[in-house]
Point group: C2
Chain length 389, copies 2
């Protein structure tokens, strides 16, 4: 058994994205204790930075010690008690996961199902809420499995109108498109670190409204999860009056998240969002010039997660294998009903640069040509140049 030296990789799949050297360097700083006063100060700074990032000045914001799925599980498990009604909009893999979790919480789950690739339809969600009193409306803002963006503002407004708490999955959206928790008046919003924040996977930032906190502290039954029970977690993360031991925070991972937040605020949140949009437009122009087409209609596309249709007769796995082998480039496969139908190309965080767009188009055209599909790399790169001019 020998030390592991990872190969060079350019990460343009659905996450993780490329992690910048400054964030990698932060991970390697010496570990200190999780109850150390200096670590406590770091925790407070992270909490404040997450409030700013989510635009959630009145929410409690903490990074949970697990992957994005831990944020989803925390949201669902803390808000729902057995027998309560939960409406879940499903337009991809992650909506389906939310419904499964709500079932495990003992809730009565009503799903509003959509074809993959479409945004959530507010009218159909409203109809489901109008049917019966509902505790929670859950949906995915940015569906990583399809590349579709849903209208979080409208969906949260519907939840408020019907007295439901909203749970919004922003794993892939945070940092790449506008996430406006206060503007949406959303209740529980969570994300992951390995997408547009460009930190390694393993943490889940989450924001809880005062309404959500009141619902959780007023539960009749215990949360069906000890590690993610907010009634316990908030005493660990709570700033005033010291902290109560709960678990041991993942110190070095939090160094990495902190550094990625410093980097985002240095660039400016708005500037980062504009950069994602620009690189997306350049990539799409290049893909279309190469003869490829997008799965999602233009109005609903996520800049950070581009689902590209696999042309008739092309072996999609062979294309991914080619770009990985020849260009050290990772792009993603389709999931579920989109398996074999699409590639998923991420432009997230540090991977959303013109260099990445050019490399990806170059590699993809080469792989397509090897399969007998005529994709003109010169035309593709020229289209990128025009967009970025």
């Amino acid at each position: 058994m020998q030390s592991f030296q990872p190969p060079r990789r350019i990460l343009m799949g659905p996450g993780p994205s490329d992690v910048s050297p400054r964030v990698l360097a932060a991970l390697a700083r010496p570990t200190i204790g999780h109850l150390d006063p200096e670590f406590q100060a770091l925790m407070e700074e992270i909490k404040g930075a997450l409030q700013r990032l989510f635009n959630a000045p009145d929410h409690a914001c903490v990074p949970l010690p697990g992957p994005g799925t831990a944020g989803m599980e925390a949201a669902i498990m803390n808000l729902l008690e057995p027998g309560e009604r939960c409406v879940v909009a499903i337009n991809g893999a992650f909506g389906g996961r939310m419904a499964d979790m709500a079932d495990r919480a003992g809730a009565t789950v009503v799903t509003v199902d959509h074809d993959w690739g479409l945004p959530v339809d507010p009218a159909r969600v409203e109809a489901a809420l109008a049917d019966a009193p509902t505790k929670v409306l859950a949906f995915v803002h940015a569906e990583t499995s399809t590349g579709a963006k849903s209208d979080a503002a409208s969906l949260c407004a519907i939840a408020r109108r019907y007295g439901a708490l909203s749970v919004v999955d922003c794993v892939t959206s945070l940092g790449g498109i506008v996430v406006d928790v206060a503007g949406w008046d959303a209740d529980v919003v969570y994300s992951g670190t390995q997408k547009c924040l460009s930190a390694p996977p393993g943490l889940s930032p989450i924001a809880l409204s005062k309404r959500a906190q009141a619902a959780i502290s007023g539960r009749k039954e215990k949360v069906r999860n000890w590690l993610l029970d907010f009634n316990l977690l908030m005493s660990y993360w709570g700033g005033e009056g010291g902290r109560t031991y709960h678990h041991t925070a993942p110190i070095n991972a939090l160094y990495g998240l902190h550094e990625s937040l410093v980097a985002i605020f240095e660039e400016g949140q708005q500037a980062a969002i504009v950069r994602h949009a620009r690189m997306h437009e350049a990539l799409v122009a290049g893909l279309e010039a190469a003869g490829l087409s997008m799965l999602v209609a233009e109005a609903h596309r996520l800049p950070q997660l581009n689902t590209v249709r696999v042309p008739e007769g092309v072996n999609e796995a062979a294309v991914r294998a080619h770009v990985l082998k020849t260009w050290d480039l990772e792009i993603g496969a389709g999931l579920g009903p989109l398996k074999g139908q699409v590639w998923r190309i991420g432009l997230m965080g540090a991977s959303a640069t013109a260099w990445h767009v050019r490399l990806c188009l170059t590699a993809l055209c080469e792989a397509l040509n090897a399969q007998g599909f005529a994709a003109d790399v010169k035309a593709a790169l020229a289209a990128v140049d025009r967009k970025l001019a």
Copy 2:
């Protein structure tokens, strides 16, 4: 908001322990994708190394993507269904946590309570199992809150005799004293990375017997936890026939765990255990020469977690503050009924060296002298020299 530069710290509390430069360096290697073939090979290597570390060649071993508490939660939540009987031996904070989780799983929980500082009494546990058919017996091998070691071999044998599955918390024991999962014939055994493995906190290695796997795959109700449901997790970590996407593994944290495993096998597991025992003996000799006494009876002491009684009239928090301020040294406070009564001094992994023992005694004697308690540092260090001669 600026980059965080942690202060120098010498970690001799209940965890995290000092992380060696080679493990820190591993954390900072470039992130690759969690579905990358090279990462898959790393996962397989970690699984094999954990089987070796636990001595569990026939168990499924994986590192869960959360702190040690995630291992506890996974064990309890996967094995127990509503209404099933669970006997939990409580002799410190972590046994109490297990009972709380079993309650959240819907189990009928029977606790066998002990004074803190004592090992679990096999006779009383056997009496509880003899009372009624029991699905799970849960106990803590190495109680981090008290420094007491329990007899895992006897307790697992009792579980087998009564047809119960055993859950053994080895968070603090693994790597510091003998953990012999095959020899114990234990069912679910979990640990953490931040104790005697000397990696940063954030992962929980876990081992599952074939009996445990059969119980989990034969459940009537879904596990009340999606992220830690082994029926889903095993398809993600399973080597044969490729992997099914479940969550995004914490790549860089796994680099760190892998490197700490390489380091442990380089030193030799047995050699590391002998080192922990020697340093413990040296520390205890020094503490006793300084006029201090241990909470736990000699036969049941954990070498890696030393609970030292606070002498009459000494302000324990002032002593911890002094050693932190003057020596950058972290030692732990007492928890629960031991709050204010003891210090917890860790000798875990990379923190179990003669240098650490000497530094700790020097700092502690100085702090005690400042409080008017005559602790002779020369006598303490001389006692260490004699033990290590």
